[in-house]
Every structure is written in C-alpha cells, then in structure tokens.
Subunit: 292 residues, 2 copies
C-alpha cells in the first residue's frame, strides 16, 4: 500500500484518514490545530509538524480543508507541501475549492512535476465513515488511475470526468440544481398556500409528482417543521458554491439565469439572518417578501 500524507483533520478528514489507515496505508497526518490529529495518532498514524514534513516522501497527498485559502497555504505557504513533494507524487485535493482555483493549483503543481487532481466528494460525515462517498475527479487521467487505489479506500465510486477543474465544476454544477430546486419548491408552496391549500397537503402532492427528487423527499421537515430539524446545508455555504459556479460560467461565457437568481435570493436570505441556517429558510425569506 502507498505512503500517504493527509492534511485536514476535520469532520470529513478524520473518518476518511481512518479508512485509509484500516486499508493498510502508511499514513502521516497534519492539522493546523495539532490536537485534532489525536484519533489518528492513537490508531497508528504518524503526525507531521509542518505540511512540508507531511509531504516528504509520500506517493499521494490528500488535502481536505476548509477553503481555497487554506489549501493554498498548505501547498504553497512557508513550509508548504509542494516544496517537499517529489516529482511524480499526486495530490488529491478533496476540499471543494472551486474549479478555477483547482486549475491554478494544478498548473503550479505541474511545474514541479506533481499532478494535482480536483476530487470533491458528494456525501457527508456518515458517508465518509462508511467509505460511501462519491468522488468526482478532474485532471490527468493516468495520475487518476495511479491514485485510484488510495481514493477507493475512502470512497464508493470514483468518476473521472475530464481535465483539471472538471471534478470541481461538476460539484458546483450539481449544487446549482440543489439551490434552484430548493427555491422553486419554496415558491410553489407559497403559491399553493396563497390559493388556500394547506402547506402539508401541497407538499404531499409535490412528493408524489414527477419532480419529487430524493432532495424533495429529504427536505420536507426542513421546510415544514424546521424547529426540530438540524441544519443540513447552510445558506452561506451554498451561496459560496453558487458564486464559484457563476464565476466559472462567466469565464466560459455560459448563461445561467436560474443559478444567478438563486444566488441573489440566497444572498437576500443570508442578509435576513439565515446565513448559518439551512437553505430551506429561503421559504421564510420569500414569504417575508410576499404580500400574502
């Protein structure tokens, strides 16, 4: 099994790294707040003091961090991983940093003979624990095939979608559909209620219609009984993803009017105090903006 470095011991990183370790990887881990490495150290991983120490001599480096700034810092900063990676090493950048940032990092890495693949995943912490994540991969196909055994210890499916940025682009493209679906369900419910239909009854009809996606089924309580539901996807995070999608759309001259209006409504909802609440609160934001 490969020598692997893993940066980022967050809610996703810890279970993913544990799966790597269980599969027999020779694992070294790093986290800015070092205490978060404790579960991995206890399970047998070694702990690096810096990203450069993490990267020295590994075949594959995994980054699972908060955002593009964190990834750039870990790879390119002082004591950054890229100074220590050997030519031929592969970086699996799994943080959802946006396609344009992924492309720029991949180009910088390639100058040092390192292939960086953008590998965002769909699925949250339970899927990470069960190695049931789906990976969407952009970048060099040969590098993907070499890194695939490592990736397969953490994910159920691995789809190579295209060149650098393609994995990140697919992820934000899917999230535009999620955001717009969320908004159009809210709009339809508000119209139905205005026509005298009980919201629960309207949702029943919706849930048996041709537009009843898993998202629509899953979201029912977030719309109708939010008091008892956890926050699944914050308004702020979704708006960030839509901004990344729209940025890419502008670069390529792609028209995305529904995604653009959804981005505006998510911004409005954030300003209405829902930034750290679930995206389903768009329902309240649009209701507040309605006369009925």
């Amino acid at each position: 099994m490969a020598r692997v470095g893993f940066a980022g011991m967050g809610r996703m990183g810890v279970p993913m790294a544990l799966n790597l370790l269980r599969a027999g990887a020779e694992l070294r881990v790093w986290n800015r707040t070092a205490e978060r490495c404790a579960p991995l150290a206890a399970a047998g991983a070694s702990v690096a003091a810096t990203p450069a120490e993490l990267a020295a001599g590994v075949d594959v480096l995994v980054t699972m961090l908060l955002d593009a700034a964190s990834v750039e810092d870990v790879l390119l900063g002082p004591d950054g991983a890229l100074t220590a990676l050997e030519p031929g090493a592969i970086v699996l950048e799994m943080s959802t940093i946006g396609p344009l940032a992924a492309r720029a990092l991949a180009a910088t890495a390639l100058e040092r003979g390192v292939h960086l693949l953008d590998v965002p995943v769909s699925g949250s912490t339970p899927a990470a624990e069960a190695a049931q994540l789906t990976a969407m991969v952009g970048g060099d196909r040969e590098a993907f095939e070499r890194a695939r055994p490592v990736l397969a210890t953490m994910t159920k499916e691995q789809h190579h979608l295209g060149p650098s940025g393609a994995g990140a682009a697919m992820k934000v493209a899917l999230n535009t559909i999620v955001a717009v679906s969320n908004q159009t369900v809210a709009e339809a419910l508000l119209l139905a209620e205005a026509a005298g239909i009980d919201a629960h009854t309207a949702y029943d009809v919706l849930a048996t219609s041709a537009v009843a996606s898993p998202f629509v089924h899953f979201k029912r309580r977030s719309f109708l009984e939010p008091e008892t539901e956890p926050v699944y996807f914050t308004t702020a995070l979704m708006q960030k993803d839509l901004s990344l999608a729209l940025e890419l759309a502008r670069v390529h001259g792609v028209a995305m009017p529904a995604a653009a209006i959804s981005n505006e409504v998510l911004s409005l909802s954030a300003r209405h105090g829902h930034a750290e609440e679930d995206i389903a609160r768009v329902y309240d934001t649009l209701r507040a903006g309605s006369g009925g």
Copy 2:
C-alpha cells in the same frame, strides 16, 4: 349511476368518456366538431347538438377543452350549458384553465345554484385510457364528495385541495417546478460541458444525485438525443402555464423569482423557433446565448 354530460372529445376527453361509459354512466357527449363524437356514439353514448342540450337534466357535466375561452364559450355562450343545468348540478372543469378563470366561472355558476369544481389532472393520454390520472380538486367540498364517484371512474386518485381555484393553482405550481427544473438541468449541463465534461457523463452523475427526480430520469433523451424523441410538453404550453402561475402570484403578492426567470427563458426559447418543440430545447436556447 349518474346522468353525465361530457364536452370535449379530444385526446384526453375520448378515453375519459369511454371509462365513464364502461362504469355504467348514462352518458351524453358533445364536441364542436361533431364527428369526433363517433367513438362514443358507437359505444352507446348519445350525442347532443348543443352545449345546452348536453347539459339538460344531467347530474354532472364534465368539460375537457382546449383553454379558458373554449370553456367560457361552452358554459356561458349562446346555447351554453349553464342556461340548461339544473340547480344542484355539478360541473367538473378538467381543462387546466388557470385558477383565476376557474374562480370567476365558479362564481358565475353559483349564481344559478350550480357548483363548478376546478379539477385539472396530472397524466397524459395513456393514463387517461387506463383511468390512472390524478385529480387535483378545488371548490365546494360537499359538491366534491357528491361528484367523486363519477370522478373516480376516470381517475386513480382524487385530492380535494381547497377552495375554488385550488386545484388549478396546485397544477400550475407543480408546473413551475417542472419548468425551473428543466432550465436548471440545462444550465448545469452547459457549465459541465464548458469545463470539459462530456454531456452524457454529466447526465450520468446528475441521474445518480440527490436532485434526480423522475422528471430528470425521464428527460435524458429529450436533452441528449432529441432527434428520436417525441415532443412531450411544448414550450408554448409550458409558458402559458407559467403565465397563469405568475398572474395568480401577482394577485396574491407572492414572490416567484425563479418562476419569473423561467417564464422569460421559455419566451426566449419560443422566439428562437422552439414554441411547438419540447421544453428541453431551452438547452439549445441557452447554449446559443452562451459564448462557449
């Protein structure tokens, strides 16, 4: 079984009327172009010469016509049905004429002691033939209960949703979700393609995601291989339904930004020559408007 009049021998009306006849209704039919009544006459229905003759003495009158103007003509025109219906009779208006028109007709009918229910259905001709339609009902609940046995001969499910207009409102609300879903799938595919992802591969990922509704599954060939696919829902018809939804939204002061932008894009697609083509051609319209 009840005495029933049925106006409108179109692609939906004929199989629905045949199901009524099979269930034992004493059936009289009418159509502006009288020849279209032939299949029903052959099956044992009597044929009326005018809407008034159709309506005289029936317990339930069903209208399944092209649009609101046709329904108004049949009910309120010279020799119209409303002049001949007896107090206590029930009209099942099944044509999808829009909630505001349905409310106005119901108010006029009530002046003569007649209850008009708006009863749009979901499902197309095959569902009509198999009596597998779903009926969304707005209007007086007691009238609904009385007419339900007649309705149940033509439909699988009958949902009473609220006051007059509620059935029509639910139908156009659902169609706003269909239209917006259609558009956001097109946008996401175009973004994925611009990032170098094959459209079929992108659709594969989409079809296994949380937003994979029956609509998304069903529409795959309409997006990717339209040459061999029939037209399922024309751009012009969908734009009419969105206009009805937005008209109702304005009356009630409901904000529907996604539905509004979808209406604009459907109008654009119609002007691009796709009015009588499937709504999936929004994909081509947005591609034409994109630089990539």
